[in-house]
């Protein structure tokens, strides 16, 4: 046993409270060893145990008729018919990406990809949701650009080499992400229904096999690092960030899938956060068995590693599997073919304990269930979310509409993200029917079933800051709307909850309200949450981020030519499904116009009527299914005028002339962000309006597509007219230009 004395200081360094330590002593019936203390500290960290959020996450809907596997496994699983399933999940890698952007983002991608293929599913798509500080900030801009470049290069490096297409995502810039960028990566894979694998150990006496990269000292305590606020010293935690090897991951993918097909594997789990510790005790706990390992057998990259270091290392590209006794050779043969190490490090036992030996001596002996599933659970006090100003600044700087539109088109949140997504291979595996910025959602074919899926990631921190509950609902609505706009039926969701310090009651209130809002909306749209991730303590030097719940939703559709954003032909009717909508000064405070032009944030997010939203989406799906639309684009950031302009940026630069019948002030009319609205161009407006009327959805022909230019009128008065060739550069060249 280790001889390092367990002192109150050491316990505090491990971010364990006195109460938590007492619980450890109770579980063990004695004082823990140093190794055991380390093991408990990572398993009971916020990152691994969800101790602050678990109570509230239970409120989320997780069941549905297509759900094969909900939360609790490495990824959620949905039945897509034809004998096939998809596995998907979103994960954050925020803290490491701030400390070391390239490797932080790369290993974030690596982690979520392993979560998918550990379930037997071959990854076929990645999307990323990114948040950075402003690039034009005189003080922090240069650093933010460096973080953005590093994160994008890291995701590109990993995904491109691994061979998974990065087909979409979102990227937002706010000062609150200056010292705390958000890097959320979503991955999705496909496999036959009977080929799904679970991270469950079974069969007493079965060998426990370690495969993949060797264990080094990198990433020790990564999970705990992700569970604390940032301070100036955080930068010294750079060695806590792991280094990714996408080539190794690619080999691991191929070898694991091939080994799974031998039938000799009983259960498998990747070594992600908390490495060997997490994989052993979780597999044991799920299977209600014990696991005994000998650390001398663990392949090591460095000499002289202590049991503590081996158990807590977060070296990448490693997997733990349990094979059927007597069939180990079949497994070894596959891994040998792929040039990978596969070593038996222990056995499944019947005593329910995680027993760790080093040079034959027991250095840790902990009941699996208590370690993995009995982590402390906190009902943290929550008051009310921090209040924002309720009224607009008295003096608005109001430029002419004709100048406001190009300014908004070049705003970092709105402008084309081509600079980012061209660095990603968005086509490898030849399934990409619609990649980045072609449609409102990414569309992939599933070769195996002859059907397609649509994917979207959405979140809006400004909305959620003004009202966490409504902001979360709006994110669900927007995500579903993006899918419906391409004709897909939303079926299931995954979430990434990025919040500040839950020990502050007003931050906890944001988390609770966002979860409740998301829960209501997901129930309403019948998109159960099948898994996800919570990232707390997103604060630097006491400054919290906007609460940023991000949704990833998957929809199903038939294979067809995609319904794309740009207008295709001149002389078509432009229909605004959902109508011009309304907005007052209070609800206008959350818009991109308020952010970019007024330079402020106030009031409330746009008002959402869930019933109405659902009817609009149903109508849109029927329009798409009936082939009635030539193009479709939903209204979101920047409202109607921005959406219209984006529809003009096709290969043929078809424009539009619209006339709006409304009493709203021009800047509100054009730039308010009321949801549940979709622009459709059609040769058959009668049929489109007919479908809308059938569903009780407001819709109007607001104009016609034309060969040249964009002109917007209000009751006959021209509010603005633009040459498309003049507007387009503002949109195309703004980011990192």
């Amino acid at each position: 046993m280790s001889t390092i004395a367990i002192t109150p200081d050491l316990i505090a360094q491990h971010q364990l409270t006195t109460g938590e330590y007492q619980k450890i002593v109770e579980i063990l019936g004695r004082e823990p060893t140093y190794t055991e203390l380390g093991i408990f500290s990572v398993m009971w960290s916020e990152h691994c145990s969800y101790k602050s959020s678990r109570l509230h996450l239970k409120k989320l809907p997780t069941r549905g008729k297509l759900v094969v596997q909900g939360p609790g496994e490495n990824a959620g699983i949905i039945d897509i018919g034809g004998g096939y399933v998809i596995a998907f999940k979103i994960e954050s890698h925020n803290h490491p990406s701030f400390i070391e952007p390239f490797q932080g983002a790369a290993t974030g991608s690596g982690g979520i990809l392993r979560d998918i293929f550990t379930m037997g599913a071959r990854p076929i798509a990645v999307l990323d949701s990114l948040r950075f500080g402003r690039l034009d900030d005189p003080k922090t801009g240069a650093r933010n650009r460096r973080i953005l470049s590093g994160v994008v290069a890291g995701i590109a490096h990993y995904g491109n080499c691994f061979g998974v297409p990065t087909v979409g995502g979102e990227c937002i810039f706010e000062p609150c992400y200056d010292g705390n960028p958000l890097v959320n990566v979503f991955a999705l894979g496909v496999c036959r229904k009977e080929d799904v694998f679970y991270a469950k150990a079974a069969g007493i006496g079965n060998p426990v096999i370690y495969v993949g990269a060797r264990t080094g000292r990198d990433g020790i305590h990564g999970a705990s690092m992700a569970s604390a606020e940032f301070t100036e010293e955080s930068k010294q935690k750079r060695p806590n960030v792991q280094v990714g090897d996408p080539f190794m991951e690619k080999l691991l993918l191929e070898a694991c899938i091939e080994a799974m097909h031998t039938g000799a594997i009983v259960g498998i789990q990747d070594m992600g956060a908390a490495g060997l510790t997490c994989s052993t005790c979780e597999m044991g706990s799920r299977g209600e068995v014990g696991i005994e390992i000998e650390l001398d057998k663990v392949p090591q990259r460095e000499t002289g590693m202590t049991p503590y270091e081996i158990m807590l290392s977060e070296s990448q590209e490693r997997m733990l599997l349990v094979a059927a006794g007597g069939r180990e050779q079949e497994v070894y043969q596959v891994f040998r073919k792929w040039g990978l190490e596969a070593v038996e490090i222990g056995k499944v036992t019947g005593d329910g304990k995680l027993r760790v030996r080093h040079h034959g001596n027991v250095v840790a002996e902990i009941p699996n269930r208590e370690l993995a599933d009995e982590a402390p659970l906190y009902d943290r006090p929550h008051t009310a979310p921090p209040a924002a100003p309720t009224v607009p600044p008295t003096e608005w700087n109001q430029p002419a509409i004709v100048a406001a539109l190009p300014r908004l088109l070049s705003a970092p949140d709105i402008c084309s993200k081509r600079w980012i997504w061209e660095q990603y291979d968005y086509q490898v595996r030849t399934n990409t029917i619609a990649g980045p910025e072609r449609c409102d959602a990414a569309i992939l074919r599933i070769k195996e079933t002859g059907t397609a899926i649509a994917l979207s990631l959405d979140g809006n921190g400004r909305y959620a800051y003004l009202s966490p509950r409504e902001g979360a609902q709006l994110a669900v609505a927007e995500c579903c709307r993006n899918l419906s706009t391409v004709g897909a039926q939303p079926v299931a969701a995954t979430n990434c909850l990025n919040f500040g310090n839950p020990e502050r009651p007003e931050i906890m209130a944001q988390l609770v309200e966002a979860i409740e809002g998301m829960s209501d909306a997901c129930r309403f749209f019948e998109t159960p949450i099948t898994g996800g991730n919570v990232s707390l303590y997103n604060e630097t030097l006491g400054e919290g981020i906007y609460p940023t719940p991000v949704l990833g939703i998957v929809g199903l559709l038939k294979i067809a030519a995609p319904l794309t954003i740009p207008f295709v032909n001149a002389g078509r009717a432009v229909v605004l499904l959902g109508g011009l909508g309304t907005c007052d000064d209070v609800r206008f405070g959350s818009t991109e116009y308020a952010k970019e032009i007024v330079g402020s944030l106030w009031g409330l997010p746009p008002a959402l009527d869930l019933e109405r939203e659902k009817r609009v989406q149903e109508t849109m799906r029927q329009i798409a299914a009936g082939g009635l639309a030539e193009s479709a684009h939903d209204l979101s950031d920047g409202g109607l005028a921005v959406a219209l302009a984006e529809c003009c940026f096709g290969a043929r630069q078809i424009g539009a002339q619209v006339d709006l019948n409304s009493d709203l002030r021009p800047e509100i009319l054009l730039f308010h962000e009321a949801p549940s609205r979709i622009l459709v161009s059609t040769a058959n407006p009668k049929a489109v309006l007919g479908l809308a009327a059938q569903h009780g959805v407001e819709a109007a022909v607001i104009g016609t597509t034309i060969e040249n230019g964009l002109e917007i009128r209000q009751r006959g008065n021209t509010l603005g007219a633009w040459e498309i060739a003049a507007l387009r550069p503002a949109y195309e060249n703004a980011l990192m230009g």
Partner: protein, 230 residues
């Protein structure tokens, strides 16, 4: 006609090339593992895109030493058709089957983009079914696709009509807009753009299928004579 698709550890467009040859073109196709010493009875071999052996050193620099490359060398010497796409092109250059080098893109960034290519010659088994001057829409996806060679080599390539494709909007700084080249015997071609990704209208373009159709036509035309002599 039978295609063989070589699988190096780290190849990641192998499934796509396989799908284009077997499904889009409808020809028998098989994978060939990197440690094979023989290519079996294939009529043409494709070196697919990806990051063979991780490409941590220099693209294709390790792959050229792979056991299967000796078989590819022999196959090429006997007149067999060898198509290298993206990483496959890089490997063929490293192996000395094609001249020149592929270096970092001019912008130093990986680029994935659909762009236009001009068919520079139809006198090859890879472009025979295309038209001289035809413009194809094909995607690229690479970080190191800038074609580089000394002027004498470039002159020679042009004099011998061995430039197969040129970029209309040169994305990576390739000298003389070169996107694909042929060997002297015209039975080995390397190209950075991905024809296998543009072999199905659903993927936005089926222009790339012409490359595989050309290969099929060339092999069929050469039957029943053993081997392929363009």
């Amino acid at each position: 006609m039978k295609f063989g698709v070589i699988v190096f550890p780290g190849s990641n467009c192998d499934h796509d090339a396989f799908y284009a040859a077997s499904h889009n073109l409808g020809q028998p196709t098989e994978y060939i593992w990197h440690d094979s010493r023989s290519l079996g009875d294939v009529d043409a071999v494709i070196l697919p895109g990806g990051f063979a052996y991780g490409d941590y050193l220099r693209c294709g620099a390790i792959a050229r030493f792979s056991p299967v490359m000796q078989a590819v060398q022999r196959f090429a010497a006997e007149g067999g058709l060898v198509l290298g796409i993206c990483n496959g092109f890089q490997i063929l250059v490293e192996a000395g089957l094609l001249p020149g080098a592929l270096i970092r893109n001019r912008g130093l960034k990986f680029i994935c983009r659909e762009l236009r290519l001009r068919v520079a010659t139809t006198h090859s088994p890879f472009t025979g079914a295309l038209h001289e001057g035809q413009v194809l829409r094909l995607p690229i996806a690479h970080g190191e696709g800038c074609y580089f060679a000394e002027p004498r080599t470039l002159d020679e390539l042009e004099a011998e009509d061995r430039v197969a494709f040129r970029y209309l909007d040169n994305p990576n700084g390739s000298l003389r807009d070169i996107a694909g080249i042929l060997s002297r015997e015209r039975n080995v071609m390397g190209m950075m753009p991905h024809p296998e990704r543009a072999s199905d209208p659903l993927m936005g373009s089926a222009d790339g299928l012409g490359v595989f159709q050309s290969m099929l036509a060339a092999v069929e035309a050469a039957r029943p004579v053993a081997g392929v002599r363009p």
